[in-house]
């Protein structure tokens, strides 16, 4: 067999290389901040810190599963085992050099995390999972380099803002004013949870990254940054997929060795 090494993403630009890096599960995302478990729970707002997980069905052991070879093989996640509810965390990524694009969240998430349900929309990306599994995933998503406090928002509702101009402090627009810029500390602080319910105490999520740094780590193509059209390899790749899909739709037998 030909030696095979997963390649994750094509393209010759720095943006493509960043995409490859984030999708590759062997790349450890740089941790930039620490958000306590309780604060993360408060930010998501599904339960009160310390409260037991609510369940949607009894634990699998009590439930007794039907005779199915796949259930016997596939190990359930801890949340599924316990019968947790399925909850979500949702992000809005600004078009102004946020580290991730919406699609990247899905590609990366499905490579790195097990048992997740990710949906991509233009202005928001929900990630759903069993509650205790979600908390584990959300921690990495909020604590590492892929979360910039100014250009990424944790927004369960009223997500509008990804394509709006940044404010005077470089923060993405948020109609619910969930996050603010603390000028004294130079940090972004959440005063409301992801759906806009006021928090009993603010949660600091750290300093926004400088513009140059964001341009370096972003996975977004922009004409005023790295333009998609300049990544010839990637364009050719996308055109190749388009061509193959079309040719195959006409006659799959004619698509050979191309």
């Amino acid at each position: 067999m030909v030696e095979y090494k997963p390649q994750y993403y094509p393209g010759g630009s720095n943006v493509s290389a960043n995409r490859r890096k984030y999708i590759d599960p062997n790349y450890k995302l740089r941790k930039l901040r620490t958000i306590s478990d309780d604060d993360l729970v408060r930010l998501m707002g599904h339960r009160v810190p310390g409260e037991a997980y609510k369940s949607v069905h009894p634990p699998l052991e009590e439930l007794g599963e039907p005779a199915c070879p796949i259930r016997e093989l596939v190990e359930p996640t801890p949340g599924a085992k316990a019968g947790d509810r399925i909850r979500y965390i949702q992000f809005t990524d600004s078009v102004y050099f946020a580290p991730l694009t919406p699609y990247m969240r899905a590609w990366m998430g499905h490579m790195r995390y097990r048992g997740v349900d990710i949906g991509v929309l233009s202005g928001r990306v929900p990630l759903e999972a069993r509650e205790r599994d979600l908390e584990k995933v959300a921690k990495e998503l909020v604590e590492t380099e892929i979360f910039d406090p100014a250009r990424v928002g944790i927004r369960g509702a009223t997500v509008h803002g990804h394509a709006l101009r940044l404010d005077e402090n470089g923060l993405m627009f948020d109609a619910l004013r969930r996050f603010q810029y603390d000028k004294n500390k130079g940090e972004v602080v959440y005063v409301k949870d992801q759906v806009g319910v006021p928090l009993d105490r603010p949660i600091y999520v750290g300093k926004p990254a400088p513009e140059e740094e964001l341009r370096k780590i972003t996975s977004q193509f922009r004409v005023d940054g790295e333009a998609f059209r300049n990544d010839k390899e990637l364009i050719q790749f996308v055109q190749r997929i388009h061509m193959l899909r079309t040719e195959a739709g006409f006659d799959p037998n004619r698509v050979k060795e191309i």
Partner: protein, 444 residues
């Protein structure tokens, strides 16, 4: 002499070798006798909710919910007398005394599983004969066995047939078939695709491999009826049915096993590419200046079949590890996206599964209404587009759900899924199709 050179090894739902070197055409709906039997049973088998008829007569609630005719009520002990009702019903349906008519009493008389004789279906052109014959025969049987007078006979009709013919289908009726009425089919040849995944999962008793197999059999057989699996496209569908639905060469089972404990969807993508490479289905084409290897194939139909098997395995890993059906559409989009980005080759059904996933995500996540994956089928307006490669995965996902939805498959399916699970060929379709393939393999 087979038309196509492909031979596959057959495995059961637990990855045990069943037979080797079976021509793929032995699995064709045009030749496999078990598939033909399954399709016949889908037309012939009808579920009767005898308890439902009894309740409807008792309360006067006929023709759908809240549709109560005040002052009209009949107290008939149908469930208690299910045995004699079944005997009379059988006699009424029989064409010849020893034909293939069957009436089975289930759940202490609450339900009946009725098999209408093939001769009745052969004498007509529409598959609705199954439901109409049973409904009409049941009315006659109840009227005769319980001595119902002319003034109450209309209530019997309404309790059995529901609001039909004021409605197109038997709304609120107590006789149901797997197949919807023809007017509800979205186009020509869609009948076998108009079966919600809830029914499939329950018929297979939530065995994900059998659910996927039955769903693939129905979907890919429909492809022949729709005019898709013919000419340049026949082999694409035959290989798809074999590798995705029927676990040919054990690919689905192997991929699941490899990623069962800790694997992600991305890991299944990588395992799929590895398998395709080691089996010689794909090979490197060239290296780009940035170091990315583009892959190519000389057999796109086989690559599609491998990708489709990987898609099902990816569904089983993602929905199986979360024990939740709602993840399915996300799998459909991103398995294919990642597979395309990994190889430079088109995803399952050349982009159509990806597109189906996008629509299904919206309509299965309360964004634009819709419902959970259990209500979807190949005739559904947002899941029609893939030619038989999406719905088997949805059926498997529904089978793997541990109870995360408000509307459970049991609630959506009602009586029909549970009753038809009594038919072995429908419940364990993989086994029967394998057996039939082996028995005809020499003569294909």
């Amino acid at each position: 002499m087979p038309k196509y050179p492909d031979k596959v090894n057959l495995y059961d739902d637990r990855g045990k070798l069943f037979d080797t070197n079976v021509p793929v055409e032995a699995l064709s709906p045009l030749k496999n006798t078990a598939i033909q039997k399954i399709i016949s049973y889908v037309k012939q088998c009808v579920a009767v909710n005898l308890e439902g008829v009894e309740k409807a007569l008792d309360t006067g609630e006929v023709g759908g919910k809240w549709c109560i005719i005040r002052g009209r009520s009949l107290k008939l002990d149908l469930v208690k007398n299910a045995g004699s009702v079944a005997d009379s019903l059988k006699k009424c349906l029989q064409v010849d005394p020893d034909d293939d008519t069957e009436v089975k009493v289930l759940k202490g008389g609450k339900h009946l599983l009725v098999k209408v004789p093939a001769k009745r279906l052969n004498a007509g052109v529409e598959y609705t004969t199954g439901a109409t014959a049973v409904a009409a025969a049941l009315c006659c049987t109840i009227i005769e066995n319980f001595n119902v007078n002319i003034w109450d006979a209309d209530l019997i009709h309404a309790a059995v047939w529901g609001r039909y013919p004021q409605t197109m289908e038997m709304l609120g009726g107590n006789v149901s078939s797997l197949l919807a009425v023809p007017q509800q089919n979205e186009g020509m040849g869609y009948a076998l695709r108009n079966i919600p995944c809830a029914h499939i999962a329950l018929i297979a008793k939530k065995n994900a491999m059998n659910a996927a197999a039955l769903s693939a059999i129905l979907e890919q057989t429909a492809m022949f009826e729709m005019g898709d699996a013919i000419g340049s496209f026949e082999r694409l569908h035959l290989l798809g049915l074999a590798y995705q639905g029927l676990n040919a060469d054990n690919i689905v089972y192997d991929l699941v096993k490899e990623n069962a404990k800790t694997g992600t969807l991305g890991d299944v993508v990588i395992s799929t590419v590895k398998r395709a490479l080691s089996d010689g289905v794909i090979k490197p084409l060239k290296k780009t200046p940035a170091g990315y290897t583009l892959y190519t194939t000389s057999d796109l139909n086989k690559w599609n079949a491998y990708a489709a098997a990987g898609l099902l395995a990816g569904t089983m890993i993602t929905c199986g590890s979360a024990r939740s059906m709602q993840h399915a559409p996300s799998v459909f989009i991103y398995f294919n996206d990642l597979l395309e980005r990994e190889t430079g080759l088109p995803g399952v059904d050349f982009g159509r599964v990806t597109g189906t996933g996008v629509e299904m995500s919206f309509f299965s996540h309360s964004i634009y209404g819709g419902g959970n994956p259990a209500v979807f089928h190949g005739n559904h307006i947002v899941t029609r587009h893939s030619k038989g490669f999406t719905i088997p995965c949805v059926a498997a996902a529904v089978a793997l759900d541990a109870g995360t939805t408000i509307y459970t498959p049991e609630r959506i399916s009602g009586v029909v899924g549970e009753v038809l699970s009594e038919v072995p060929e429908l419940r364990e379709s993989l086994r029967y199709v394998n057996e039939a393939a082996v028995s005809i393999k020499g003569g294909v």
